[in-house]
Symmetry: C2
Subunit: 334 residues, 2 copies
């Protein structure tokens, strides 16, 4: 009774956005679980900007996805049948599923149960890589503190929207979000409690930062890079901190991306710019999830998801992150 | 008996190197010392890259030098006559003298005695701003530790040559200096004990870094910026640190300087890039000087000075820092 497994493999490396040349749909027999393993059906895929970086043949924190390999992706699976006492049919697990319908799940391949009582959508957003990236980046790397003026780029995105909310909870004096378009800008202020929004598509970002943060930026959480990073460096406060989480503006044009010419302001302002990966915090996720669960219960933090239906639409879902077509966490319902 | 004071004032802001239009020699009466003050003759001027940044009309850590103001500079003075019990004729003091022959020295204007038993040249080099910048930048900001692979740019310069020597003393596994020309490169290896030298004028810096630091750079102490910074960022080791001390490659072409496109490697490598100013360590200079004095007594560290004779040659002395014409600390003997 071998199930058939539809899967998207990397057909060729993209030069910009992912398109129909980039991935190829295949149908093969689903793998057979061995002793101690389970066969699981992929239910949801976590669509993250970093997936685009894995498609390049460039050194990274993980090896590039090989040509003809299933596109790497986090996701949530439901156990279908099991040869393990640990897994029962219906169990929901999180792991690196890839863009496909079936996987063999085992402890050896890193599948974990969802946090207690957390629904699948929240397990991928607020309690997943996205929310935990916001949490540890802001608190552990950025050392956010009461009275800080905090700026977040990609502020309507999954990570950025969480960063801004946590900054307010942690006592930031002012939280300024940079996002694209009036709808997103209104959303982060009206629905998520940001103090101000800058529309990078319409505003002069540098001029607006000088108005909104006249005494400088204490903490900039950057998901975007490029000109926005440069404008924030120019407006850094004394001992300002820049947390480098992503550089999404450069992921589609590697090799031609410009560096931040204002980096030398880090000298004048005795500033610090530091990168991090959530991978390094995997042994501390429980700590972050516990605090976020408290905030959620008290109604202090919100999560939003942008659902795309169908495995075949995963490439389009990934592109949303680069066109700014999403608000909140992009999830593919397989 | 008013002395006459020759002084160099800023006539107009330079656009590149300092030239005969930039400064103007004036002769005026020397100022008269008031109660508690002393008249002092300037003996030596400390020529530092940062002087060039003060000539621009741009925000910095100190206000720009005003037009018609004496060019700001550190230096050593000898007391000529004194209205203070604290100062006796012949006393040597350190302070912000400016490019001139006479100053009024007082505690209020920040003049300090030279460290005990330290000759004037060493007071400006190893025990001065230069050496202390190397010391605190490497130890306090860079957190140099045993086994580190350390790279220094501007390695034959006053600060860079000290950084490399301290890194060896502190147990770095390998110290690589980047300097211009075979003579400087030979000097830092043969005379100062660097393990390797890269000649940025002749070598492919990126390729040589990959050879010399195949497992990556743990600590990069940057005096230069520009393409050299970019090449070092590309070769950063996991949790590598970049200490931003200066960006001399950009001081003469502000506005057109390129940013480091490889900054995003700070994410992949969880790296940290941090700027600092020695100003913030003025209350800890004794600590640094005591340790350096010990190394000097044990013959573990060397200082070299590049002396330029005559106040009128101060602009040319400053330019040496940008043409790479100096080895070691540039000092003008007034």
């Amino acid at each position: 009774m071998a199930e058939r497994n539809r899967r998207l493999v990397l057909a060729e490396r993209p030069t910009g956005m992912v398109d129909e040349q980039t991935v190829r749909m295949e149908e093969v027999d689903a793998p057979e679980p061995g002793p101690g393993e389970a066969l699981a059906r992929v239910r949801y895929l976590s669509i993250d900007p970093t997936i685009r970086t894995w498609m390049d043949d460039a050194p990274g924190y993980l090896p590039p996805i090989a040509i003809d390999e299933v596109v790497r992706s986090g996701g949530i699976v439901e156990v279908v049948r099991s040869n393990s006492e640990k897994y029962k049919p219906g169990d929901l697990l999180f792991g690196f599923t890839g863009w496909q319908e079936y996987v063999v799940a085992s402890e050896a391949t890193g599948y974990q149960a969802l946090p207690d009582g957390v629904a699948p959508m929240l397990a991928l957003s607020l309690f997943g890589i996205t929310g935990m990236t916001a949490y540890f980046g802001l608190i552990d790397v950025g050392k956010v503190k009461e009275g800080d003026v905090v700026v977040v780029s990609g502020a309507a995105g999954a990570t950025g929207s969480t960063v801004g909310q946590i900054a307010k909870i942690k006592g930031a004096a002012k939280v300024i979000g940079i996002a694209g378009g009036p709808k997103k800008c209104a959303g982060i202020v009206d629905e998520l409690g940001f103090d101000e929004a800058i529309d990078y598509k319409a505003d002069d970002v540098g001029a607006r930062l000088r108005e909104a943060a006249p005494d400088g930026i204490d903490l900039f959480f950057d998901n975007v890079g490029g000109e926005i990073l440069d404008a924030c460096l120019a407006q850094l406060a004394l001992r300002g901190r820049v947390v480098l989480c992503g550089a999404i503006s450069g992921y589609n044009d590697r090799g031609t991306a410009k560096g931040p010419a204002n980096y030398a302001n880090l000298i004048i302002k005795r500033g610090r710019m530091e990168g991090f990966l959530i991978l390094d915090y995997f042994d501390r996720l429980d700590e972050g999830r516990a605090e976020v669960a408290g905030w959620l219960a008290e109604g202090k933090i919100k999560s939003s998801e942008h659902i795309v239906e169908g495995l075949e639409n995963a490439p389009e879902a990934l592109n949303l992150l680069f066109t700014g077509g999403n608000t909140g966490k992009v999830i593919v319902q397989v």
